[in-house]
C-alpha cells in the first residue's frame, strides 16, 4: 500500500459564535490512532478554520462532518485549529477537539504539582519535562508552536508532530539551572531523526556554553548553582525513516557528552514505557548518572531481536517478566548499571536528583560506568563473570551477588527491595 501525507482544510461559521481568546494552545500527542492540535486566535470574520495533516485518504467528508458538528456545538469563531493526525477515528477527533477546547478556555497549564505524584510511566514527554523541574520554571525551547517537524516524513506518508517527538528546554531545581531533554515514546517510538537529533545535540551544547559563560563571570561559582542536564529517555534509538541523519546525530550526542564531562553533569532518567534501547542505550551508558524506576528498561538490543538471533528457547520475547528481569530497573540496579532505583513518580526521581546535586562534580563522575581505563577494567570483570557464570537468567546473577532467595526480589516493592537486595560487588 502506498501512503501519502496531505493537508486538508475546512472553514465553517457558527451562527452565534464566541470569539476565541487571543492565545495559542497546544494539546495531545501524535500517537497511533491519535492526534495533536493547536488552537490559535485568528481573525477570520467569525469563522473557524481547521487544517488537518493526515495520512488518511477517502474520509474528507467525515472530517468535514466532525468539524462542523464540533463548531456548531462549541460555538467558537475567529480560531484556527491545526491538527497533525495519525489515523484518529472520528470519535477520537471529536473528543480531542472538546478536551483541548475546555483546557484552552480554562487557561489550563501543565503544572508540576499535578504531575509529580502521578505514575511516571504514563506521563507524556512534556509532562515529564515539567514535572522534573520546579513549578513555573520550565521554558520550552523550539516548542510545538515553532512547528519544526520532520521535513522527511511527509515524503514517506508518515504523520508529523510539531515537536518531532522531543521536548527540549530549561528550568530550575532550587538554585540550579537544569537543561531538559524528554523523549515521547508514543510518537514513532521516541525515535531520533534529523530534527529531534539537532534539538538533542544543541541542548547539550547550550548547557556547556551556559556553564562556561557563568564560570567566566564568576570562577568561584558554587557547585549548587552550576547547571546540569537531565535526559528523560523513551526511545528505541534511530528513526528508520531518516536513519542516516538519526545515526549521525547519535555520534554528535556522544561527542558532546565527552565534552561536557567534568563540567556539566548529565543525568539519565529512565522510567517510561518504551525504555531506552538501540543507539540511545549507548548514550545513556555514557552519561554520568542513571536513575531508573522498576518499570524503566535499559539495553541495546530489543527482546524480539534477541529471540530472532538466539531462538525462543533461549529468549522468549513474549515473556514480559523475563524481559523486565533482563533489562529492567531492578536488575540494572543490582549490577550497578543504574545508580538509583526509585518509585514510579516524578517526585521520587526528583529526590534522587537532590542526592546527586548534593555531590560535587568529581564525586558525580565517580558514579559513571565507563569513561576511563580504570572503569573499563572494572567492566571487564563483569564480562568475565558472564563467561564463568553463563547465567540462564538475570536471577542467577542476583544469586551470585549474594541474594539468597533472588526470585523473591522480583515482586518486592521498591522500598523493601532497596532494604533487601544486595548489589553485585566484584573484587
Amino acid at each position: 500500500m502506498s501512503k501519502e501525507l496531505r493537508t486538508i482544510e475546512f472553514e465553517f461559521k457558527s451562527a452565534d459564535f464566541k470569539e476565541f481568546p487571543k492565545t495559542s494552545f497546544h494539546y495531545g500527542v501524535v500517537g497511533s490512532g491519535d492526534m495533536e492540535l493547536i488552537y490559535q486566535h485568528k481573525d477570520l470574520g467569525g469563522a473557524a478554520k481547521m487544517t488537518v495533516c493526515t495520512p488518511v485518504t477517502g474520509f474528507d467528508h467525515v472530517w468535514k462532518m466532525v468539524f462542523e458538528k464540533f463548531i456548531t456545538t462549541a460555538k467558537i469563531g475567529n480560531v484556527l485549529i491545526e491538527i497533525n493526525d495519525n489515523n484518529a477515528t472520528p470519535a477520537v477527533v471529536f473528543l480531542r477537539l472538546n478536551q483541548a477546547l475546555k483546557e484552552a478556555l480554562a487557561g489550563t497549564e501543565l503544572i508540576n504539582s499535578n504531575i509529580v505524584n502521578a505514575s511516571f510511566l504514563e506521563l507524556s514527554a512534556r509532562e515529564r519535562a515539567i514535572g522534573l523541574v520546579d513549578e513555573n520554571t520550565f521554558t520550552e525551547l523550539v516548542s510545538s508552536y515553532d512547528k519544526m517537524s520532520s521535513p522527511h516524513l511527509p515524503l514517506m506518508g508518515e504523520s508529523i508532530e510539531f515537536d518531532d517527538g522531543i521536548i527540549t528546554g530549561v528550568g530550575k531545581i532550587g538554585e540550579k539551572t537544569v537543561f531538559v531533554i524528554s523523549q515521547e515514546g508514543k510518537y514513532i517510538g521516541g525515535s531520533l531523526g534529523e530534527v529531534s537529533g539537532a534539538k538533542f545535540v544543541n541542548v547539550l551544547r547550550l548547557a556547556r556554553n551556559f556553564y562556561e559563560s557563568m564560570l567566566a563571570k564568576n570562577p568561584s561559582l558554587p557547585e549548587s548553582k552550576r547547571p546540569a542536564i537531565l535526559i528523560s529517555f523513551e526511545t528505541g534509538g534511530v528513526r528508520l525513516h531518516e536513519a542516516n541523519a538519526g545515526l549521525l546525530a547519535h555520534a554528535e550526542i556522544m561527542n558532546e557528552l565527552q565534552l561536557n564531562r567534568g563540567k556539566v553533569p548529565v543525568i539519565s532518567i529512565i522510567g517510561s514505557k518504551v525504555g531506552c534501547f538501540g543507539g540511545m542505550g549507548f548514550i545513556a551508558a555514557a552519561t554520568d548518572v542513571i536513575i531508573m524506576s522498576e518499570y524503566g528498561r535499559l539495553g541495546l538490543t530489543g527482546p524480539e531481536v534477541i529471540e530472532q538471533e538466539m531462538g525462543k528457547d533461549e529468549f522468549d520475547s513474549s515473556d514480559r517478566a523475563l524481559v523486565y528481569r533482563t533489562t529492567g530497573g531492578k536488575h540494572k540496579y543490582i549490577v550497578g548499571d543504574s545508580n538509583f532505583l526509585v518509585e514510579n513518580t516524578a517526585m521520587s526521581f526528583r529526590e534522587a536528583l537532590k542526592k546527586v546535586f548534593s555531590l560535587d562534580i568529581n564525586e558525580i563522575s565517580k558514579l559513571r560506568r565507563v569513561g576511563s581505563v580504570e572503569m573499563i577494567e572494572k567492566q571487564k570483570k563483569l564480562v568475565k563473570l558472564s563467561v564463568d557464570l553463563q547465567p540462564k537468567d538475570s536471577v542467577d546473577v542476583w544469586r551470585y551477588a549474594g541474594n539468597e532467595n533472588p526470585e523473591k526480589l522480583i515482586d518486592l516493592n521498591v522500598k523493601t527491595f532497596l532494604e533487601t537486595a544486595k548489589q553485585l560487588n566484584l573484587k
Partner: protein, 291 residues
C-alpha cells in the same frame, strides 16, 4: 580484487608499511590478554612511515565465549579491547605535544553489536558507549583519528567503530561497501512502507537510503576512495589535514559536529542548522532568568 568484506586483517596489511603491523602491541608492550575479543584486531602499524595505532574488525573468526559474536560483530570483549587500546595510546602520548600525538586508524568492517542475552544482562550498551567515549577523548586530546570503511559499516556498530573519527573515508560502492542502519527491505517491513516506493525514493533521498554515496551527501563521510591502492596515501593525507585543522586546539573543526555542518553544506541535512540557530536565539532571550 572485488572487495575486502570480512578481510579486516588483509586491509590492515594493505594500508600499513611492509611488515610494520605488530598485533596486540603498543610501544613494545603487549596490551591484550590471550583469548579476549577475538573479532577485534588492535596493534601498531606504520602508514607511509607514520607510526599509528590501528583498530579493526576480524570477519573471519568468531568469539568462542559469546555465541552471537562472529563475522566482525563487536561484542562486549571486543569493545572493551578496542577502548583499552585507545586509552593506552592517550596515556602513552600524554606528555607529547599535539603535533606528535599518534594517529589512530579505524579499519571498519562490522555488521553489528552483540545481540544476545548475556550481552543484555551484563550491559553491551556500556561496552560500546565506553569505546565511543574513549575515541572522543582521544580526538579532543589531539590524536588524529581516521576511519576507513572497507566493508560493512552497519548501524550501532558503525556508531561505535567509525563515527567518532575526525575524518571518515570509505571505499566506494564498487568494492561492495555497505553503509546503512538497515537494508531497505527491513526498513520497508518495519515502517510498513511500500518497498518499491522506498527504493524509488532512496535514489534521490540521502536521509534513509543505504550506501556510502548517501552518507557522503549527509556529511557522514569526508572522502570516497575509488582506487584501492591509494588507501594508505589518502589516509596519510587526512592525518596531515586533521593535524592542521586541530592545531589550535579546535575540537569542532573535525569529528561528528563538523560532519553535521558538512551535511548542511552538501544539502543532505536540511534543517539542522536552522534548529540550532532557533534554539540559541530563544535561549538568549530568556537566559537572564536562569543566571
Amino acid at each position: 580484487m572485488d572487495n575486502l568484506l570480512g578481510k579486516g586483517r588483509l586491509a590492515i596489511g594493505m594500508i600499513s608499511d611492509k611488515d610494520s603491523f605488530q598485533e596486540n602491541i603498543i610501544d613494545g608492550k603487549t596490551i591484550v590478554e590471550k583469548d579476549f575479543g577475538d573479532c577485534a584486531v588492535v596493534g601498531t602499524i606504520k602508514i607511509n612511515g607514520i607510526e599509528s595505532v590501528v583498530i579493526g574488525n576480524d570477519g573471519e573468526t568468531y568469539n568462542p565465549r559469546f555465541p552471537v559474536v562472529y563475522a566482525g560483530i563487536i561484542g562486549m570483549e571486543e569493545a572493551y579491547k578496542m577502548a583499552e587500546a585507545v586509552y593506552i595510546t592517550i596515556k602513552n602520548d600524554a606528555s607529547k605535544p599535539q603535533s606528535e600525538k599518534r594517529p589512530i586508524i579505524l579499519v571498519v568492517d562490522t555488521p553489528g553489536n552483540g545481540p544476545g542475552k548475556q550481552e543484555e544482562i551484563f550491559g553491551m550498551n556500556k561496552a560500546t558507549g565506553g569505546y565511543q567515549l574513549a575515541l572522543a577523548e582521544a580526538r579532543h586530546k589531539g590524536h588524529p583519528i581516521v576511519a576507513i570503511v572497507i566493508g560493512r559499516a552497519v548501524s550501532g556498530a558503525f556508531l561505535c567503530h567509525g563515527l567518532q573519527a575526525d575524518h571518515i573515508l570509505s571505499l566506494d560502492a564498487n568494492f561492495g561497501t555497505m553503509i546503512h542502519v538497515m537494508p531497505i527491505s527491513s526498513i520497508a517491513r518495519i515502517t510498513k512502507l511500500d518497498i518499491e516506493k522506498l527504493t524509488a525514493m532512496s535514489a534521490a533521498n540521502p536521509v534513509f537510503a543505504s550506501g556510502a554515496k548517501f552518507f557522503y551527501q549527509l556529511g557522514g563521510i569526508e572522502e570516497l576512495i575509488t582506487d584501492i591502492d591509494s588507501m594508505s596515501s589518502i589516509i596519510a593525507k587526512h592525518i596531515d589535514e586533521i593535524r592542521k585543522l586541530k592545531s589550535n586546539g579546535e575540537v569542532d573543526a573535525t569529528g561528528p559536529y563538523a560532519r553535521g555542518k558538512l551535511g548542511g553544506e552538501r544539502k543532505g541535512r536540511i534543517v539542522r542548522e536552522k534548529i540550532i540557530q532557533m534554539m540559541n536565539d530563544q535561549f538568549a532571550a530568556v537566559e537572564s532568568k536562569y543566571c
